[in-house]
């Protein structure tokens, strides 16, 4: 049975410790998204640029690009997911430890973008998993993923 807002309030009142901890967890989580270094088209290059000196993703503490999927928190899908890539991405997603999020960066990941008519391209990352934040652009400016990640931060804080 679903809990409606009113019940949540009551629960929150009785469980101050749990909710305070929840807040702390979310504070920590939302300030240290470690992206998985994955990408297969133009957007990863902008992702790399966002890690470099001019834009510097490190300011938010998100610069720890993990190569191993086990230690990553955010799967930044940058680029189209093709039929051949799909099993690999699904596997990597399964390997990531909870809590984990998906950010679709660039139009290819949002909807298939320019290549949506191609027989081999999936129409968006949300055909495989729930996407938390969509960042349209083709390719996106390096500031746009920052905005996307900051939106994700807001979302996680509210959880």
């Amino acid at each position: 049975m679903a809990v409606n807002n009113h019940d949540e309030e009551i629960l929150a009142k009785n469980n101050i410790i749990v909710t305070t901890f929840e807040k702390l967890w979310n504070w920590g989580r939302s300030r240290s998204f470690w992206p998985l270094s994955y990408g297969c088209n133009c957007c990863p290059i902008e992702m790399m640029a966002s890690g470099a000196a001019r834009f510097d993703i490190a300011r938010y503490g998100y610069e720890v690009f993990r190569a191993a999927s086990r230690q990553a928190d955010v799967l930044v899908v940058a680029g189209p997911i093709t039929a051949k890539m799909k099993p690999a991405v699904e596997r990597v997603w399964a390997q990531m430890a909870e809590p984990k999020w998906v950010v679709a960066m660039g139009n290819c990941a949002v909807s298939g973008g320019p290549f949506v008519d191609g027989y081999s391209v999936l129409p968006g990352a949300d055909t495989i998993f729930h996407v938390d934040v969509y960042i349209p652009g083709c390719p996106v400016r390096p500031e746009a993923p920052f905005q996307g990640l900051l939106e994700l931060k807001k979302k996680v804080e509210k959880q």
Binding site: I45, A52, F115
Partner: protein
């Protein structure tokens, strides 16, 4: 002699140093590579098929997305191919701007090559310095077309808009800084003994093998074969510029690295000349609004892209859309030599080999 077992290890498709979705299945004996099997197709976006459902004009942005590191060059190749079909003459000024934008793209691509090689070898700082310098070129692109990487700036018969006023001073400023940039790369990367040990005499590709495999571009020239389409078969107005074709000696990873570094310098020379000679005038030829080549026309045109010989083969059936469009992608063909140069090397060498072959998977898989 101890009996050892061979095992397979999958490098990619999701791996930090495979430049996108490349999958190399390495057959290993300890850390030594016995064989490497290249799997491509992870970024196959069916571009050639999409081309058949787009008009000639509408394919221009797709052409830019083939080699997204040097987006002006594949666009230039496509645009020139269609111009060849329609027999359009491009105004002088537009030709010069094409050279300028194309060579800037080449520099951007080669700088990113240096950077990604550095990061693949573990020198993260070299990468950030390269990106810093690349940003200046991207600023130039953004100034002209409003997009940083994938500009879609070229049109049939010329350009969409003229250069903005601030472009030429900014371009000259960048060119002025090239020696300083080189100084830094040479001290930080190419002069570094560790990097030299990682690259020298590794992944040797003989001139004969390179020709047999159909390798083109800097990879071929690193093996000592003097073949550059800009010299051998000048397209556009490349015959008006004086520049050298840097050559390697052995064809190892270090030569491939150095050839690209020197090509940046030569591209700088070309741009300087083009900026000096840049005439005033029209930016775009008068062309019909709807591009419709004659029926049964087949054209192949090739240019020297940042990665090698990039060719477009277009068949027309008289309609608004190409009947067939094929791309001869240099990255794809260059990549096929990877098993040959990796055999007998170490696991760490294959990373360097992939990096110095400099494939762009968007172009290789199309």
């Amino acid at each position: 002699m101890l009996q050892t077992d061979q095992y397979n290890i999958n490098i990619g498709p999701i791996h930090p140093s495979t430049h996108g979705g490349l999958h190399v299945e390495a057959v290993m004996d300890g850390e030594t590579i016995v064989d490497a099997i290249v799997h491509v197709g992870y970024v196959h976006r069916a571009v050639e098929k999409i081309a058949e459902s787009r008009t000639y004009t509408q394919f221009i942005p797709y052409a830019s997305r083939l080699d997204y590191l040097a987006s002006h060059l594949p666009t230039m190749g496509y645009v020139q191919t269609v111009e060849k079909m329609l027999d359009i003459h491009v105004p002088e000024r537009a030709e010069y701007i094409r050279i300028i934008m194309g060579e800037f793209s080449r520099i951007a691509s080669h700088i990113l090559f240096v950077g990604s090689l550095a990061i693949d070898l573990g020198a993260t700082t070299g990468f950030t310095y390269c990106m810093r310098d690349r940003e200046k070129i991207l600023d130039l692109f953004e100034m002209t077309s409003g997009q940083r990487m994938i500009a879609s700036y070229m049109r049939f018969g010329g350009f969409a808009e003229d250069l903005p006023e601030e472009f030429i001073p900014a371009a000259r400023n960048f060119l002025k800084n090239i020696p300083q940039m080189f100084d830094e790369y040479n001290h930080l990367l190419s002069g570094n003994e560790i990097l030299q040990a990682r690259l020298k005499n590794i992944g040797v590709l003989s001139a004969e093998d390179a020709i047999n495999y159909g390798i083109t571009g800097p990879n071929l020239r690193a093996s000592g074969v003097d073949y550059d389409l800009r010299k051998a078969e000048p397209y556009g107005i490349y015959d008006r510029f004086a520049f050298d074709v840097p050559l390697g000696e052995k064809g190892d990873n270090y030569d491939r690295f150095m050839v690209r570094l020197q090509e940046i310098e030569q591209s700088g020379r070309i741009i300087t000349q083009a900026l000096d000679q840049l005439p005033e005038g029209e930016i775009r030829a008068k062309i019909p609004r709807i591009v419709k080549p004659e029926k049964g026309l087949e054209v192949y045109h090739r240019i020297e892209s940042a990665k090698g010989e990039l060719g477009y083969y277009i068949v027309s059936d008289g309609g608004e859309k190409p009947y067939r469009l094929h791309v001869r992608a240099p990255s794809f063909i260059n990549l096929m030599v990877l098993p040959l140069i990796s055999r007998g090397g170490k696991l760490q060498d294959i990373i360097a080999n992939i990096a110095t072959l400099d494939p762009v998977l968007g172009e290789a898989d199309r």
